[in-house]
């Protein structure tokens, strides 16, 4: 298992954000669905090793991350696109990706080529020498995806990656996702059900800090009936599973 989350609890003050959550993921593209406030971003931050759970176990890439050496080894193979991220105003797109490649401890000699390749894969190579702040929101998002994939991560965590992308870019992005999912474990957090249907083999649904469904997109679609709200089969499945979990 690339990701094994066992009974993880995270509290912010009195509020329980993740409530004894279990999750197991392997190679492939996985969707993480759930309403706003369900705990998706908190789970992403725990998997990105940014946040430490209050209790429970997290194994990433086969490592229990017991010491700093193990933590660094995992982080070198990690790609993470946070829901929101900033950048230094003077950075060009290339410097932004290059800087993170350095921080990920990629071998220095390979960085220039890896950076250009990552930018090419998100369609930003022609803007590589423009300053980050001159880009549109969607382009900044793509630069964020480029930094996440620059080190060919074995575990790729993308929190709302399609926010701000236009429909054509979203189609291209789904193709990129499928390509990345061949070798890596890709977890895509989103509230857009149709993104999951189009690009993810497996879906996990989180509500109230708990895992309420895990299975293939087809299984999620099959969970819905004609009486459930939604415009597509998978949306009806989504509302049906949520309703059953809350009942």
């Amino acid at each position: 298992m690339t990701v094994a989350v066992d009974d993880v609890t995270v509290r912010y003050g009195r509020r329980v954000v993740l409530d004894g959550l279990d999750l197991a993921l392997d190679t492939g593209v996985h969707g993480l669905l759930g309403p706003n406030g369900a705990g998706k971003t908190t789970l992403m931050r725990v998997l990105a090793t940014v946040s430490v759970p209050d209790s429970g176990g997290v194994r990433l890439l086969g490592s229990a991350i017991t010491d700093e050496k193990a933590l660094r080894a995992v982080r070198r193979q990690l790609g993470y696109l946070p829901q929101t991220f900033g950048f230094y105003p003077r950075f060009t797109v290339r410097e932004f990706v290059e800087y993170l490649a350095w921080l990920k401890e990629m071998p220095a000699a390979g960085i220039p080529v890896a950076v250009d390749r990552a930018l090419q894969r998100v369609g930003l190579l022609d803007r590589a020498d423009d300053r980050m702040r001159t880009l549109s929101g969607g382009m900044q998002r793509r630069a964020g995806i480029a930094q996440a994939i620059v080190n060919d991560p074995r575990l790729l965590l993308l929190d709302e990656p399609t926010a701000g992308l236009d429909p054509e870019q979203r189609v291209e992005f789904r193709a990129l996702l499928r390509e990345l999912g061949v070798d890596a474990c890709v977890l895509v957090s989103t509230h857009l059900v149709e993104d999951v249907a189009a690009a993810c083999e497996r879906v996990s649904l989180v509500d109230g800090g708990r895992l309420v469904f895990t299975g293939t997109s087809a299984q999620l679609a099959a969970a819905g009936g004609d009486g459930d709200a939604g415009d597509s089969a998978i949306e009806r499945g989504y509302t049906a599973v949520l309703r059953a979990a809350r009942a």
Partner: protein
């Protein structure tokens, strides 16, 4: 050299043995005579070929250690603002006011400079890339130490100059509280975050200076007297120990 080059998809397919024989022959015939396309053949199976039209690379970016350090340091615009304002304030106090500025005011500002710089150069509120950096192998203590080092490199000389101008103790003695306060800030930051920790340590220093000296004094203040060396070294050591012990603390 011909103007024609093999398309990315064809080159990829050829590298993976997916082309029909006649198509593969024509690709090979072209590769024989075209160095550009030969260089695009992916070295690792499964990877796509290098794109044909890479834009001109603006400038050569040698992947050296020196450039890495430069970017790491340069990456903190907040740090630069802190450095400039700290240096400007101290220079202004010493140069324009000359003897009219109370020397204890210099003592108040000088050793607190690295604390200020450390606080503003990283942390979730002041570093827009904190979330991204936190998930990288370099994140956590190591990047904090690099930035602290860069802050110290700027503020230590300024503090020493403050010591020289003020005439309170020897300038070298001013470096001790600098280092001790910085270590304390970092140690406390692993519990509270850098902003709170800088306020606490800065406030503590303020209280200490006022309490130790009341208002203007002409004698060598106790805080930068040679007899203060062991306590400052002790504070630095304790701070460093806490930093080492708490290096895996993540919030």
């Amino acid at each position: 050299m011909t103007e024609f080059h093999v398309a990315d998809a064809d080159l990829w397919a050829w590298a993976e043995n997916r082309l029909s024989e006649p198509a593969a022959w024509s690709v090979e015939a072209h590769l024989d005579g075209c160095a550009i396309c030969r260089s695009r053949v992916p070295a690792t199976p499964g990877l796509p070929p290098a794109p044909l039209h890479l834009p001109a690379q603006g400038r050569v970016r040698p992947a050296t250690r020196a450039r890495r350090i430069r970017v790491l340091v340069e990456a903190g615009p907040q740090a630069r603002i802190a450095w400039f304002s700290a240096v400007a304030v101290t220079v202004l106090l010493t140069v324009t006011l000359g003897d009219r500025v109370p020397h204890w005011l210099l003592l108040l500002v000088g050793p607190a400079l690295p604390v200020l710089g450390t606080a503003v150069s990283y942390g979730p509120r002041s570093d827009p890339m904190a979330e991204l950096v936190a998930s990288t192998a370099y994140g956590g203590l190591r990047i904090v130490l690099w930035r602290t080092l860069s802050v110290l490199a700027v503020s230590l000389p300024v503090a020493a100059a403050g010591g020289f101008v003020s005439g309170l103790g020897s300038p070298a003695m001013w470096l001790l509280p600098c280092c001790a306060l910085t270590a304390l800030t970092l140690a406390l930051a692993s519990f509270t975050g850098p902003t709170v920790s800088a306020w606490v340590v800065g406030g503590g220093w303020f209280a200490l200076v006022t309490a130790a000296h009341g208002l203007p004094v002409d004698a060598t203040p106790l805080l930068v007297a040679p007899s203060a060396t062991p306590p400052w070294l002790a504070v630095t050591a304790v701070g460093s120990l806490i930093i080492t012990y708490r290096r895996e603390a993540r919030r």
